[in-house]
């Protein structure tokens, strides 16, 4: 609504019809929306034919099931459980990842000690360790948090370290020519220069962390969206399964957009580079 109001205001000056202007400024959003609607329509029709009952439930059935699960409060329980697991695991991964990345980038000895572990563990499919985590941390939240942490932490470490070490030498030299000391160079040059890399690492971490939640809950859980998906598919409740999948997708989109907002706040100079 706010957008329309602003559009109207500018309109009086530019003498472009309100409708045309609205179409132009929202063109990319409208195309995206149209694309989603077309696929949803095809899905609905394909689901209605009933030819693939184990794969496709009609969108309308999924929606009905969503409303059912939501009104009974069951859905909220699953969402809260998964969100809690994800947020805690990811927050710890972000803090530890950034600190380890900084350590690796600033000390050759630390790099030598930590690097082989990072390379080895990052390259192996760490989800394979999820069952072990359930043994160690139990069937409830802590085991999933550990899986999320393990999956999310490595891209954050690697990106932070890469961001810091790839700082353009000329910026460091410029700071040195103003007699900046090591701490100042770190705070005022290396960290801001690495910020875009760190954010990219966090974004990768979000994707991997969500995988961690789902896989962890598949293996053993009593609640959560992954548990909902797993349980529903086992019981051939395809519509309920899709409710879980859509909610997970929504969570991912939401998390990334929150991160983008934070990035815009923290690194306003980047907006222009991205354009």
């Amino acid at each position: 609504m706010a957008n329309v109001a602003i559009g109207l205001d500018l309109d009086l000056q530019e003498r472009e019809s309100l409708g045309a202007r609205w179409l132009r400024t929202h063109a990319s959003t409208l195309r995206g929306l149209a694309s989603l609607l077309v696929v949803a329509g095809v899905w609905e029709v394909a689901g209605r034919t009933g030819r693939w009952p184990l794969i496709l439930a009609p969108i309308s059935d999924i929606w009905t099931r969503f409303l059912e699960l939501a009104s009974s409060g069951e859905l909220l329980k699953h969402v809260v459980v998964s969100l809690n697991e994800f947020v805690v695991g990811f927050a710890v991964a972000a803090v530890v990842g950034i600190l380890l990345g900084i350590t690796i980038a600033s000390s050759k000895a630390a790099k030598d000690v930590i690097d082989p572990w990072v390379s080895a563990v990052y390259a192996t499919p760490t989800v394979a360790l999820a069952p072990l985590f359930i043994f160690v941390f139990g069937i409830d939240a802590p085991s999933k948090m550990a899986v999320v942490f393990l999956l999310a932490v490595f891209p954050i470490i690697i990106n932070t370290a890469t961001g810091i070490t790839s700082t353009d030498q000329i910026f460091i030299e410029a700071a040195r020519s103003f007699s900046a000391n090591k701490v100042q160079i770190f705070q005022k040059v290396l960290i801001p220069s690495a910020l875009p890399f760190i954010v990219a690492g966090l974004r990768l971490g979000i994707g991997r962390g969500l995988v961690g939640v789902v896989v962890g809950e598949f293996i053993g859980a009593r609640a959560g969206l992954g548990y909902l998906i797993f349980k529903s598919s086992q019981g051939f409740q395809i519509d309920a399964m899709w409710v879980g999948v859509f909610l997970l997708a929504g969570t991912g989109v939401l998390a990334v957009s929150i991160l983008q907002r934070i990035e815009r706040r923290m690194a306003p100079w980047r907006q222009f580079e991205l354009k």
């Binding site: 030299e173 801001p192 222009f272």
Partner: protein, 277 residues
């Protein structure tokens, strides 16, 4: 410690050796130069002659293999607030606004924010950036970025300004405007300036003396007094004396380039020599 009557800046037989892929080569050999307070010196020479290296040594960013630099009789061992360095384009911090770039030097020194802002405000007006304080470097044209670069170096109020091809990336018109602007700023504060460039007309237009360097290893080949009155208008570039000076310097550099490339009499270029050059 100030030596009365001594030069502002003294370079004392500076040599710089580099090791690259196991081979050592000399970038600078035995460079000595005295620069008076308030003097504007241009440094020219074929590319790779070590002019930028010399400037970095004077700033204290690198330590020469042999020789010393003295500012007012005190030996330079590291960068200090008595020297300001103006880098080539894009040395402004992209994550800071123009204003925050300009206050960087004072911020690092731990000066009060209010003092830094007042100082930055003066400089913004001096270099003609008023109204662009809140812009980020990428929002500025090349010429404006170099104005900001100059202002950033001037905030710490250095006695000596070291400028490393600051206008090299600018188009011809902007470069001329910036040259005139630099002289205007210099007239108002009379800093001692060492200005590295490969544009010979720029060197002559700006400087009291032009130092011509030989090809690698860089040595001082000649020092040319620019005996033209100040303040100088851009129109002096069309006077016979100016053209004469530029020609004389160009011939010296051409000799150096030819010597380095070993161009033979009939104009044939020794490709073997280019490869090692």
């Amino acid at each position: 410690m100030t030596v009365p009557g001594g030069p502002k800046l003294a370079l004392n037989s500076i040599s710089m050796l580099y090791a690259q892929r196991g081979r050592r080569f000399a970038a600078l050999r035995d460079v000595s130069l005295d620069i008076e307070k308030g003097e504007f010196i241009s440094l020219v020479g074929a590319s790779g002659c070590g002019k930028t290296t010399l400037l970095r040594i004077v700033d204290g960013l690198i330590t020469p293999t042999r020789g010393e630099v003295f500012v007012d009789g005190t030996q330079v061992t590291r960068p200090g607030p008595d020297r300001g360095f103006v880098f080539q384009q894009d040395a402004l911090f992209p994550w800071r606004t123009v204003l925050d770039n300009i206050t960087f030097g004072l911020e690092v020194q731990g000066r009060a924010k209010r003092e830094a802002l007042r100082r930055a405000d003066e400089l913004v007006r001096l270099v003609g950036l008023a109204g662009f304080e809140r812009h980020y470097p990428h929002e500025l044209s090349g010429g404006m970025r170099q104005r900001a670069n100059l202002a950033r170096a001037l905030t710490i109020d250095p006695d000596i300004l070291l400028m490393d091809e600051p206008f090299a990336a600018l188009d011809a018109q902007t470069r001329e405007i910036m040259q005139a602007e630099l002289l205007r700023v210099w007239r108002s504060n009379r800093k001692t300036v060492m200005f590295v460039t490969h544009q010979i007309d720029e060197a002559v237009y700006l400087a009291d003396r032009v130092v011509v360097m030989t090809s690698r290893p860089g040595q001082i080949k000649a020092i040319i007094d620019v005996d033209m009155p100040r303040p100088r208008d851009l129109s002096i570039k069309r006077t016979p004396r100016f053209v004469e000076l530029v020609d004389a310097i160009w011939k010296m550099i051409e000799e150096e380039v030819k010597a380095a490339l070993r161009i033979t009499e009939d104009g044939h270029v020794d490709t073997q020599a280019i490869a090692t050059y």
